[in-house]
Amino acid sequence: MPPSFEVIGFLGIMAVSYIAAAAAALLFEDDRARRVTGLLSAAGALSGMGAAALGLAAGGSSVLELPSALPEAALEFSLDALSAAYLLLIGLVGVPAAIYSLGYGPERAVGAVDGALGRHSTGWRPARAIVPLFLLAMSLVVLANSVFTFLLFWEVMSLASYFLVIGRGDSPENLSAGRWYAGMAHAGFAAIAAALWLAAAGTEAGRFEEIRQAAGMLAPAARHAVFLLALLGFGSKAGVLPLHAWLPRAHPAAPSHVSALMSGVMLKIGMYGLLRVGLDLLGGGPPWWGGLVLALGVVSALGGILSALVENDLKRLLAYSSVENIGIIFIAVGIGLVFQSYGMAGLASMALAAALYHAINHAAFKGLLFLGSGAVLQATGTRNMEEMGGLIKRMPQTALCFLVGSTAIAALPPLNGFASEWMIFQSLLAGAAIPYPLMAAMMAIAAGTLALTGGLAAVCFVKAFGIPFLAMPRTAAAEEAREVPRTMRLGMGLLASACVLLGVLPFAAAPILSRAFFGMPGLSDTPAAFRLGLVMEAGAGASAISPTALALCLLAAGGAIPLAFRLAGSSRALRRAETWGCGRAVQSPRMEYTSTAFAEPLRRVFADLYRPAKTLDIEFHPESKYFVRSIQYQSRIRAWFEDAVYRPLFGLARPLAGTGRLIQSGSLHLYIAYIVAALLALLLLARWM
């Protein structure tokens, strides 16, 4: 179907705005560049959402081909319901992040001249130009309709985010993060490219329609290979365990609105790729595909949240929690694939809708939390939670937004995290109906893990909100923190309201969720499997909840209680006094519970998984060992898991890289010779074929 005039218009405005934004960043001076770039990026994201809304409303897919010199390298785009859903997701975080970036910058940092902010300086012009290009690349990836287009923009997306991670390249932390990221992104790219080329082997131009038609003829072994390679590649982009190692390094290193985009959106592009290839192009497969995805999801969810729990770096904590949420999303995708392979179309649609719902919700609250952490970073100059405290009194609005995000991510009703996790739980419960006991039992175990993850997330976010924002400031920098500029608060406020609305009014998301998988093989097109109305229903006659009514009840009860107290004539006397501390003389921040202490019980419970290493040095008085001069206690948690997985890989790669270095001499002449040789070889090859 040719695209409508409006869709082309919106997409065109989107692309032009993004490119203009990038240009503005390079052309203008510092302050104006920030303003123009931010506004143009927001406009781009907004028009992307407009195109997506039109595309969803129209149903079906509209295909757009751009002329090109080479037939194989034609850029081809299509806007179907799934692309539209992801385009909306990009806009959901893109718009607030762009608005936020208007006020985010090292110039306004209080007390942080040389802190983490100075390093990844957003004031560095190329970095500011790259953000809109990153947004554009992500939008074009989900719109891509041929192997070439997809791979091209995939690579642009990876490269753009790579440059944002390393920033100016003058901090060892960022450089190391960048190395991890580049290495894993390219390994992933190789896997994806292999998968897509394998799938497109029999087609003419590698268009997605052609692959879709040819997929049926593919040999089973080839299909499995395509799926596994795709899972490897997209899984590493999405950050599932054990392919997540780059994520907690790269996400915190980027500027915070970019972290929001990376965690909130880019991970979901990995999920999009998996859905596009596994579900759409290949048309689903045997149950073990879904089972594998489900298992990966379970492991990631648990591993992610356990790592997040013991983290003291606010942004790393959020990054690990993204691993957890991607795990939850993969659980839902896995169930969906399992249902699809058993021919339970209605349930499959429900599970996949739940996955998409959680992806959108995670984009909202994780985007919000990253923006919030950026605000905190700007105000205090640190990411270490042990050096914060008492920020709620200094930055009340940021605190409120962060609290909304924390409550949402802890899956507490009536916010959006709860709504989507409820749907995922219901999908798992429906899985009990699968006639194979092993699969059914797997669903039960996944349900248990999901709940444990939810509980641990609640602990984790009591810590992530409580330690930085509540109690007394632990350092002078935290003491002097000030509320961030209005634009930054606006960006956070937008996402906070999205968290509330998506949770309280689930029917607002219903048009996206029920249409996103329209026309996919093995799914039901009738929305009867689940309903997102005033009452959310998981299938007819099955479980139902109504977040809207729940929120109203909570509000009513919360309002009625003080009223009832006043009527009952209860005392209203209030006196301020010092915190009770058993009568000790002064209260100081040193007495507060720390972030490490807060997580200590769980660290001990899961000691087998964390394997904490501790060293205890006691220096005794020379006269008697009953007198102690000093005690030093150190406890660290080593990422032993990453060591176990990646060390051998590094061991393998190093000699190979050493060999590769032989041809790297740094001499320009030699490189030109290489190019000429490659050209010659290609020409000969073309002739011969």
Binding site: W580, C582, G583, A585
Partner: protein, 172 residues
């Protein structure tokens, strides 16, 4: 387990009645407001503060929680935080180091509140009088509502003191 419960069954209740009278020795330092008495008369939470006692008084106080004296039957119970408390039960002479904590505890307790000082030391510093380490009786630091004399006073006396402050003693 069967043994435990059969023994419980055979023992039955051992709580002794509170004999009437016997409150002559109790020294009411201030008249407690009517409203406070009414409010706390049926439900009283106590925070115990050891301001420097020899722990003889504590030993007797802990008897109140036991089955024989059972203060809970009067709605009296001990709590951990002065924020939850209605009464401070203070023992011992106030030592220099405990002066500030005692005052802070008093400040931390929400109104309306009572203070009962237990033991000879709490009033006159007893055997510690004149020591360089003590500040003086409890009423040197915070206002006291009632003194319970004795070194140490018996649990029954303490119970009587608490109830007398609330005007809840059984009538003769």
């Amino acid at each position: 387990m069967a043994l435990l419960f059969s023994k419980m069954w055979r023992t039955g209740l051992v709580t002794e009645d509170l004999p009437s009278g016997g409150d002559e020795g109790l020294h009411l330092a201030r008249v407690v407001e009517e409203r406070t008495r009414r409010l706390l008369g049926r439900s009283l939470a106590i925070r115990e503060v050891d301001a420097g006692s020899c722990n003889g008084c504590e030993l007797e106080i802990s008897g109140l929680n036991g089955p024989v004296y059972d203060c809970e039957r009067f709605g009296v119970r001990f709590v951990a935080s002065p924020r939850h408390a209605d009464m401070l039960l203070v023992t011992g002479p106030v030592t220099r180091n405990m002066e500030l904590p005692l005052r802070k505890t008093w400040e931390a307790t929400p109104d309306p509140k009572l203070v009962v000082a237990v033991g000879e030391c709490a009033r006159t510093c007893g055997v510690f009088a004149g020591s360089y380490a003590v500040v003086g009786g409890v009423d040197r630091v915070i206002p006291v509502d009632l003194f319970v004399p004795g070194c140490p006073p018996e649990p029954l006396d303490i119970l009587r003191g608490i109830l007398k402050a609330l005007d809840r003693l059984p009538r003769r």
